[in-house]
Amino acid sequence: MTTNATLPPRRSGEQPVLEAVNLKINFPVGGGLGKNQVVHALDAASVALTPGKITAVVGESGSGKTTLARLFARMYQPTSGTILLDEVPVDSKKLGRDYNRAVQMVFQDPFGSLNSMKTVRHHLQRPLLIHGHAKRGQAVEQRIHELLEKVKLTPTIDFIDKMPHQLSGGQRQRVSIARALAVEPRVLLADEPISMLDVSMRLDILNLLIELRDVDQLAILYITHDIASARYLADDIHVMYAGQIVESGSAQEVINGPRHPYTRELIGAVPDPDKLRENNLRSSHAERPAPGEPPNLITPPSGCRFTPRCPFATAACSEAFPSATEIGDRHQVACYWVANQKSSSCPDPV
């Protein structure tokens, strides 16, 4: 927390409820034969979650976005860096219910995240009883109905005694969200909550998250690889590549005006039927460069990990990961090329 660059971009005057500062984690892998190899899964990530805001973290598989969510959920211990809850560092030893009371999670797989042998009632009454939000009996029952109402599983009486296998994927994900809400948290971590749902049911879940942000003022972390959904939902966005956050800013600004070479490539690759005429796979005959792929994170490239694929890479890129360059209101890009452009105030060539 020494320089400004290590702090996540903040909205002025708003107090983050949960904040990751320079979070880094290495996972040991079974090297065998005495080799102690580690996967450098996440490198110096700083993300702040603010009440009433949805912060998206986008990236491809293996970019570290789910690892970040699980660090926030305290399923892993970070190798270094700090998590601040209400600006107070979270003690790694003192875990438990106080943290969980503030921070809850919705998992990706609506089939795996509910216990297939328990009813909807069981899933919702446990958090109520554990956190004392309702005592036994009528109060619990009433609160469960309120929660089902909240996630729009109505009429609630039809759902309360259902087993998970009697529900559709979308309905299960609502139960999963209701379970998290039963704790009455201030932060909701949503790890790819729609990726396993049928397309026609995704928007309802996204709209529910929007309602939780606007009405209940929750701070929401939205992890996704679906960039269009992040644009629909999020206020702020962080783009990750191979365990590093390469670009952050308001969702509209980052997605409509990406600056980092990787963000440009990523957003250029998303199918966009509304721009069919300008950017169509079928009409382009240009020679394509050999496809690049994310690096092996056991032996990641030094410095910026995008260097081997980057058309603008220079020797400096391999030396150290660039500190963030502020290029707009809270819009930060970790890239030497972008920083040079800004300092020489060249117009954007692309």
Binding site: S61, P271, P291
Partner: protein, 637 residues
Amino acid sequence: MRNALSDRRAQAGLLIALFFTAIAIFGPLINEHVLHQNPLAIDLEAFGQPPSSAHLLGTTSSGQDVLAQLIAGASQSMIAGLVAALLGTAIAIIIGVTAGTLGGRIDSALTAVTNIFLTLPGFALILIVAGYTSNAGPVLIGTIIAVFGWAGGSRALRAQSLSLRNRDFVQASRMIGESRIRVVIVEVLPHLTGWVTVMLLMGFVGGILSEAGLAFLGLSGVDTVSWGTMISQAQAQNALLGGMWWWFAPPGLCIVALGGSVALINFALDQSYNPRLSGLSRGQLNAFQKIKKRVQRTPKSPQSSENVLEISGLTVEYVTDRGNVVACKQVSLNVRRGEIVGLAGESGSGKSTLLTSLVRLDRPPAVTTSGSVLFTDRQGKTTDLVSQSEAELRPLRWTSISLVLQSAMTALNPVMRLGDQFIDVLQTHDTTLSKAAAQKKTHELLKNVGIAPNRSNSYPHEMSGGMRQRATIALALACDPELVVMDEPTTAVDVVMQRQILANVLDLQRKFGFAIVFVTHDLSLLVEIADRIAIMYAGKIIEVAAAEEIWNAPQHPYTVGLRDSFPPLSQTTVSLRGIPGAPPDLRNPPSGCSFHPRCPLKFDGCDRDEPELLQIGETSVACHQYEGANPKEMVIQ
């Protein structure tokens, strides 16, 4: 569990087990009040007698009544079995589940202990311990057996709880603040019921057999009667040589019957916990055969030689015990030579069923009940794929139609080098091809998809996911097919790689002119690559139109809803609504138009009549709102 109890084998097994349990409990009473026999009473007047009305199963060489001994012995065997089962399983649960859920050092220590017990020569130790404790009763024997026999089950339970520990629902209950002990008891343990039941049953049988074995060796009390001591004494008194079968056969048969009953229950339980083991039920098979016979094929000719594929009236059903499920209903679709046809739909829309049926890879319980799939090759020869036998289809596979699946790792052979798999395919379809020529062709094919020739020496696991998927595409093009069917070929790869792969596929398609049927749930992707798109819902094609039309002017309310379920990437963000409700359950489809329960435009009649596919300009759409608009142009495509 309930399924298992309705299984006839389980019922038979339970009946036998209950019979022996009753005998074990009421044995002394039966002996005293019904038979008026004391199993240990020596009657020198009546030694070695064959069965008679006085002694229903004859007597031993000391004149003891065999039936009375058999009845008295039941309780000894059952007690040994029960103690072994209950105690052994309890130890296994405590050690195995603790190790599996706590992990770390506790796991290492407990696993070490388990492994030591696993390597101990169990029965030899049982012999030694039993030998030192003379007059070992059934409880002691059961205990000894449990102490030496829990390790195997414990390992299984540890493995199970280890995998459960990382499941999301366990993580989720930790997340809401559930205590560790409750997580184990309330969330994890119920999932181990199947394992625990099987362990109890196995422990029971093991206990009975070991008790018999120990008694046979003379290691149980002299004054107790059990099935084992009966056989032991019969052996000691040369009953076999003396032809006294009534002495040793009944206890032997009882042991077999009790063990067999447990095995029967076990079979049924195993099948109910792992339904995949069972295959088709007899009812399913009968129904399946009947349908196969009923389906009649009438030779058809294609509407146009321009169509490489003409699917008409294709219906595919899944045969289940509770009637047939129609997964694909009267599907008709043409694919023109060199055309890219997209097939979009959600889960349960029937798109995967249609795909497997048209490449004739459907397997029971799926059966094609009507319709035809006409394939016309470049020379103009037409084949109805539905009526072909597997042998007749083989020459068409890969040279005419090839397939790219979602998971490249399963499409490629993990123990073969990439190049060898290509050479294998090439030489299978062209037996005259030399190895050198096949190698040259392999390098060419790999180069087509941007893979360096030297990678042909790699194994699939040495390649990245994107490279594997490109290799599968190259493999699908190996024999110059006229139609390539692609089932979600890029769902498993990242979006940057997806674009590169698709650009590559489109380049090759332009170069070689094959047609593509591309199946995906991602409509926004299809719009970019397909010429025409067919939308499927609840087993039917509900709209077919040019790709841009589907996006810019969708006709069917479902297509409209599906399109609006994709938030825009560049257009202004507006609040969007998905489609209310969920896709229908095909086991119980809605009446009339299957979309009517979710349709914002439904009117009277939608829940009654099934709409036909109508031609509206260039678009085909199955929706009642278009009926009567231009009835003259109603053409069923």
